[in-house]
């Protein structure tokens, strides 16, 4: 089997205001699994999107076996044998495994679908993947890892030369990961170039042959997996981190405002206990799937909880719901602002006043004047950039949308704010403004719980950080006593 190679030469990708890829030259050989790691925004996805034909580089070339590649669309990349498997599943749940694999190109005999051949061909492919999945099975009945394997099998059915796997294990349980790895090794044995994007460094020794690290759009280096330790990779990912100074004038008071006791939800988190002080900014660190988002939602009453209770200012809540918790003085800015936080077709003004609806009204009668006043106050205080407060919320940028979500809650005069990934998908400036808001509110005595994947942010913003792993709080650290590499290491440990 001859060796294939995909290679980039000095690739640069510019977006307005940022350079997503900066002079990246990297080379991946067939028969190996090449891990691509880096923090969010480091340029990993930009690089693989170029391979997939989804975007074009601003300058630089890339080659497959010395053939220069020029993609105008994703189908160009397909024809050259480069396929991508993304985190979001593209399978149709109601159809069989075999149908999904050959969707849109089912084999035919005399104009009719040749079902026997479909199932037989799918069976052969699944066998190559060394997994035991019935091609007749309906996809909705498969477990997560099986769906992921079917996704990869579908990619394999195109006889690809390069397969890009984007965080394939992010939704998988521990034991399922091993099954997926078996399939990925089978893939590599067939002489395919496997590019593997992941956040989970602890997986690397098991599956990767080489590791390439990107940071701020630059390739920090490519190393052989068997010659490096995890801590070295973390160092490459983060580099020298400058942590900005947290204002020192915020006094955390001794008074406990909220206590969470024995909080458990089957499959997500268990026996979570912690206390939150008045005016404190408490961070929760943890990898994707550690249960941090679910914990916040549980406290807010957005999802049911199996066991445990929340006590706020002496009042205990056992089965909470958002209506009760809003009255109790909690606000939650959810993980996905577009789907969970905003009503995009409605105006900025309306979106700023939904949570405070009962406060702004006189009984059941709307008080439009009060509502306008509250909305305008938030626009002013949070510095939301709007031309017209009556324009639909979807017309705003991500950062301004996030501020609307925050303003919606500040209008309720909350005692406790829960922030779930508030900085996702917004620019640096807006991010900094959101942190300023948290501090301002803390000065007023509002307590904050802040969940983020970005560990540097937590170190920058919080007074105290809880670390979650597999649904449990395993450690508690003080930002001044730890650096980001150590924090990252604790988050990943024991996997």
């Amino acid at each position: 089997m001859s060796v294939l190679q995909i290679r980039t030469e000095q690739i640069i990708k510019d977006y307005p205001g940022t350079r997503a890829l900066d002079d990246v030259s990297v080379c991946f050989d067939s028969g190996q699994v090449h891990a691509l790691v880096g923090k969010n925004g480091s340029g990993k996805s930009t690089l693989v999107k170029i391979f997939a034909g989804a975007i074009k580089p601003s300058s630089g070339e890339f080659y497959l076996n010395d053939e220069k590649l020029h993609f105008n669309s994703t189908s160009d990349a397909y024809h050259k044998g480069i396929v991508s498997v993304y985190q979001e599943m593209s399978l149709v749940p109601g159809l069989s495994v075999a149908e999904n694999i050959f969707l849109g190109r089912l084999p035919k005999k005399n104009q009719a679908i040749d079902w026997r051949k479909t199932y037989q061909m799918a069976g052969v492919l699944l066998q190559q993947m060394k997994v035991n999945i019935d091609p007749h099975e309906q996809v909705s009945r498969l477990s997560m890892w099986q769906m992921q394997v079917v996704e990869i099998t579908k990619a394999l059915s195109f006889n690809p030369k390069v397969i890009v796997l984007d965080e394939p294990t992010s939704a998988l349980a521990q034991n399922e990961v091993q099954n997926l790895f078996t399939a990925i090794r089978a893939l590599k044995d067939q002489g395919v170039i496997v590019i593997y994007i992941t956040h989970k460094l602890q997986e690397l020794p098991q599956i990767a042959d080489t590791v390439s690290v990107l940071r701020d759009g630059k390739l920090v280096g490519t190393v052989q997996m068997n010659k490096v330790q995890q801590i070295d990779i973390v160092g490459m990912m983060f580099g020298e981190v400058k942590i900005q100074n947290r204002p020192t004038d915020i006094k955390v008071r001794d008074e406990i405002i909220m206590e969470v006791k024995n909080f458990s939800r089957h499959g997500w988190y268990r026996d979570v206990n912690f206390k939150l002080k008045r005016g404190e900014v408490l961070g929760i660190a943890g990898m994707l799937g550690s249960g941090r988002t679910e914990l916040l939602r549980g406290i807010f009453g957005a999802d049911p909880v199996d066991r445990g209770e929340v006590t706020i200012e002496g009042k205990t809540y056992k089965s909470a719901n958002p209506i009760k918790m809003v009255k109790a003085g909690i606000g939650l800015t959810p993980e996905n602002r577009k789907i969970q936080g905003l009503i995009l077709i409605h105006s900025i003004k309306d979106n700023l006043c939904y949570a405070s609806m009962n406060i702004t009204a006189d009984g059941w009668l709307e008080n439009k004047r009060k509502r306008n006043a509250l909305a305008e106050r938030q626009v002013r205080e949070l510095d939301i950039k709007v031309n017209d407060i009556n324009a639909p919320c979807e017309s705003l940028s991500g950062g301004n949308q996030q501020k609307v979500v925050v303003g919606n809650w500040l209008n309720t005069s909350p005692k406790i704010m829960l922030y779930d990934e508030p900085s996702r998908g917004i620019d640096v400036n807006a991010k900094q403004q959101i942190f300023e808001i948290m501090w301002d509110e803390a000065r007023k005595g509002i307590s904050t719980i802040f969940v983020s994947t970005e560990l540097e942010e937590l170190l920058e913003v919080c007074h105290r950080i809880l670390i979650m792993r597999h649904g449990q709080i395993v450690d508690e650290v003080i930002p001044d006593e730890i650096n980001v590499n150590e924090l990252y290491e604790i988050c990943m440990r024991g996997d």
Binding site: L332, I345, D350, A355, M357, W364
Partner: protein, 336 residues
């Protein structure tokens, strides 16, 4: 043509097209009325206008409740059956109770009360099942459509139950204020229903919650809005208005008939949609529905005056609904 500069006004092509699109139905209605005034004999007369109101108020009343339901992101298909059932219930109650010597007025009031309770219970049931189980509202209310049609048929034995109502009940549907050519009572009920729903949707927390729930139920829930209660209120409102329409329909012909109102749900939805309410929920205006009701009434009346046969009328009305939805979708795209 030169740009016209008016002090304090700036012309923005996009804004103008949005304004025109927002008011296209009103514009069409005005053009239609002017056209018919010249083209159709007897159209622009007081008697004809009162006739239009009388004929269209019965369905129109329900349209305001349906607007609320559709803005909440729901649908209620059962209202046609409720119209028939309400008339049958009042007629049967009157017949049976007067049979055992109870005063006819008392009997009618008891019948009305039963219908109102039934409307509240049905609305609550729709909201409860839809919200708790996540069943599509289309299916939930399709079930009750058939159940209530069957119930009304059984209760009435399949025949009209005539001449059971007290005179004031008949007046609800057939009466006029100000003599034989006066304003029909159903038209007054229509206006009253319009003002109530218009006020609720525009000036109360319930109205705002309804828009929020239809716009994005998950965001609404996470903002502490009681989504279940909001849905139940919308469902109860449309049911109550359907029952009211049932009283008026039965009163107009002085009989309770189980098949009254059959198929009305589609006409009512058509009026709402022509009025610019979006089927995806979260957007729409009660005033638009009033225009929609009048529009559909005027076009039907005009076609009848012009001797266009009933089959052609169906086709014309269908095309109008199609164009209205097309405009609503186009407007949404333009604004985005």
């Amino acid at each position: 043509m030169e740009n016209v500069a008016v002090p304090g006004l700036t012309f923005d092509r996009k804004k103008i097209s949005i304004f025109l699109l927002d008011h296209i139905i009103e514009l069409c209605l005005i053009i239609l009325i002017i056209g018919l005034a010249f083209g159709a004999n007897g159209f622009m007369t007081w008697a004809n206008w009162m006739n239009i109101l009388r004929a269209n108020s019965l369905k129109g009343v329900i349209a305001f409740g349906m607007t609320m339901v559709i803005i909440a992101g729901l649908i209620d298909l059962s209202i046609g059956s409720i119209v028939g059932l309400a008339g049958v219930i009042v007629a049967v109650v009157c017949r049976e109770l007067t049979g055992i010597g109870i005063d006819i007025n008392v009997a009618a009031i008891i019948g009305i009360a039963i219908c109102l309770v039934q409307a509240i219970a049905t609305g609550w049931l729709h909201g409860f099942f839809q919200h708790k189980t996540g069943m599509p509202p289309f299916i939930v209310t399709l079930v009750t459509l058939n159940v209530f049609l069957g119930l009304a048929g059984r209760l009435s034995g399949g025949f009209p139950i005539a001449n059971q109502f007290p005179e004031w009940f008949n007046q609800l549907g057939g009466g006029r204020i100000g003599g034989p050519n006066g304003i029909p009572i159903p038209a007054i009920v229509l206006l009253a229903a319009f003002f109530i729903v218009w006020f609720v949707m525009g000036y109360t927390t319930t109205g705002r919650a309804t828009y929020a729930v239809g716009g994005n139920p998950e965001s609404a829930r996470l903002s502490g809005i009681n989504v279940g209660k909001t849905k139940v209120i919308a469902f109860i409102t449309v049911q109550l208005l359907a029952v009211l329409s049932g009283f008026m329909t039965a009163g107009q012909v002085m009989a309770g008939t189980f098949s009254f109102g059959k198929g009305w749900e589609l006409d009512v939805i058509a009026a709402v949609v022509v009025g610019g309410t979006s089927f995806t929920g979260g957007a729409g205006k009660v005033s638009g529905t009033l225009v929609g009701v009048i529009f559909m009434g005027v076009i039907g009346n005009g076609m009848t005056l012009l001797n266009i046969d009933i089959h052609t009328q169906y086709i014309v009305k269908a095309v109008i609904v199609f164009l209205a939805v097309l405009l609503t979708s186009y407007r949404a795209q333009l604004k985005a």
